[in-house]
Symmetry: C2
Subunit: 344 residues, 2 copies
């Protein structure tokens, strides 16, 4: 047997082995449920059918891979945000350090109330005063210092109910949707009303979403120099992009530049994003997470049947709009087999 | 021979064949020059050594693939921008249609001068009046209408010297750098002083860079509704991000969220981007394209030895700074074997 024949023989066997492996692989994949934490039903089916419709070549609903963009609100959509956003807790926790640097704030509202530790009084602070705390504690340092501070806080902070790091409180069924979409060529974005710089600190570790795929409420930064001439970016207390309501489609245009084909939200702040994405041509997926599971997570918003004036950010009106437009509603109670990785 | 042995035998042969193929593959790659349009010399070597340094595991200069971000200015760095930016030509070409919609502008400067067709007078318009033309012709329509208009213009417009579509005037050596970096796990971004929405129209076709990887000067958009209730985004004549000078590192932080490790520019508008990126820790690459090839492209800026007051955007001071900081200077004349794909 000469070496040319030997090579061709090897090559053939190699090719056979490889295709056998690929065949076994695709069989195994077809049999694996990509959404094991979802109960069977129209919601789960809606997601699977959307993915099939947009990834099957030669169909009118096919979406080229470059255009497969899916956007996810974060708080209340990908992880727990009730009763208080973790970012607000972070900002309140920064107040003592802020007052140490700026002692005159000690006797000034709303800082005085925060320092008192009186939880009831803190919970009652008007939105304007809360925004002042946010602006002051999320600015005045370099972007690198801010990253370090946020990382350090998440390493220690625990949520008051489960006594676990906030980063363990993402919804497992939504993690599966993220992974399922990515496995089908989708680029997944977080589009959050929360701070863009804040969410970027942990988005990669928690969701596998890199910083450049996080669109959020963003402040101005200024390019400045340290005394030794090193340049740095300082965070200013000035709003550049309010990534809520109409700010979501506007922020998506600024940061992504194309209209996504799938969007997930849970509150009135997500209304325009869902509307914008769902009104595009072709197959579209718009989904609203309904918090109706008082036992395993929380029941709030329309699940309680309260009038909209008492409800906050997820209203009966939004739920009605979802039904009118054909956005799908995810019932945490009925659609999710488990909510957290630590659920039994 | 039982089937277990047969399988293991196949498996071994398969593995051997695969590694033989990979070995042949890497040999072949090592022999292929990734930068064939570059002359050998320290500039080309600098690029190749940077890529090796940042992609060789176990070295102190290794950069994890998620952090491999490279940013490129566009005009004058990736394609011809002399004697006039194509975007300015686009805006001037839109003036007749603008005046048709708003007839009162016909007798008003600077629109009157543009309509006169007097090239000398147009070239002398002060920057403030030029900015007024840009703001008026780049706003007042939906983002979808704008995309369509820009696409239609590029399909017809030709540059005055080579009489070719502008999209054929990218520099082949820079296209090779883009491809070489991407083949080594880099995400390539355009960071342009030009309009973000404008450049996004052709960035994918011309450079293989998707819209979401274009950072540029951006205006405000507003989320509005058509009469039939369809939502759309309208472009407003209001600046959100001036992506020049300090605006480049600020824009990179806003849109990318990490400090890149490589940057390419050609003018004073790129100074802070090069400085910011080069001052980061670890292996860094900062390069300036010097327009010193009067025959094949243009010679302008410091190549002419003129005082900075007469030079415009690429100054002797910038060149001196490059030498001080160790940013590499690309001489179009000496470093590039060919400039355009249509060069012989």
């Amino acid at each position: 047997m000469n070496s040319a024949i030997a090579f061709s023989h090897w090559g053939r066997l190699g090719a056979l082995t490889l295709s056998a492996l690929l065949f076994v692989g695709s069989q195994a994949q077809a049999q694996t449920d990509p959404l094991p934490s979802w109960n069977d039903g129209p919601t789960k089916q809606g997601i699977v059918e959307f993915v099939k419709a947009t990834t099957t070549q030669g169909t009118p609903t096919f979406v080229p891979s470059a255009e497969r963009i899916a956007t996810f609100d974060q708080d209340g959509t990908l992880w727990v945000s009730h009763p208080m956003y973790s970012q607000v807790m972070y900002c309140l926790d920064q107040v003592p350090a802020l007052v140490e640097k700026k002692p005159h704030l000690k006797a000034v509202e709303p800082f005085k109330t925060v320092l008192s530790g009186n939880r009831e009084a803190i919970a009652k602070l008007p939105m304007k005063e809360l925004e002042e705390i946010l602006a002051m504690t999320l600015s005045g340092m370099s972007v690198d210092e801010f990253n370090t501070q946020v990382k350090a806080w998440f390493a220690k902070a625990k949520d008051p109910r489960w006594h676990r790091p906030f980063t363990e409180l993402s919804y497992q069924p939504m993690q599966e949707v993220l992974a399922y979409l990515r496995a089908n060529g989708y680029k997944t974005y977080i589009v959050t009303g929360g701070g863009q710089d804040f969410v970027r600190v942990y988005s990669e570790a928690v969701y596998g979403i890199p910083p450049e795929q996080v669109v959020g409420t963003a402040g101005v930064t200024n390019y400045e120099y340290q005394k030794d001439g090193e340049p740095f970016l300082i965070k200013e207390p000035k709003l550049l992009l309010n990534d809520n309501n109409a700010g979501k489609p506007e922020g998506i245009h600024l940061m992504v530049g194309r209209r996504p084909v799938a969007a997930f939200g849970n509150s009135t702040g997500d209304r325009q994003m869902l509307e914008y994405i769902h009104s595009g041509k072709g197959a579209r997926l718009a989904m609203l997470v309904l918090h109706d599971d008082a036992k395993r997570e929380y029941a709030y918003g329309p699940a309680l049947g309260l009038p909209d004036t008492k409800v906050g950010t997820f209203t009966q009106a939004l739920l009605a709009e979802a039904q009118t437009h054909g956005w799908m509603v995810i019932s945490m109670k009925n659609d999710w087999k488990r909510i957290f990785t630590f659920d039994e």
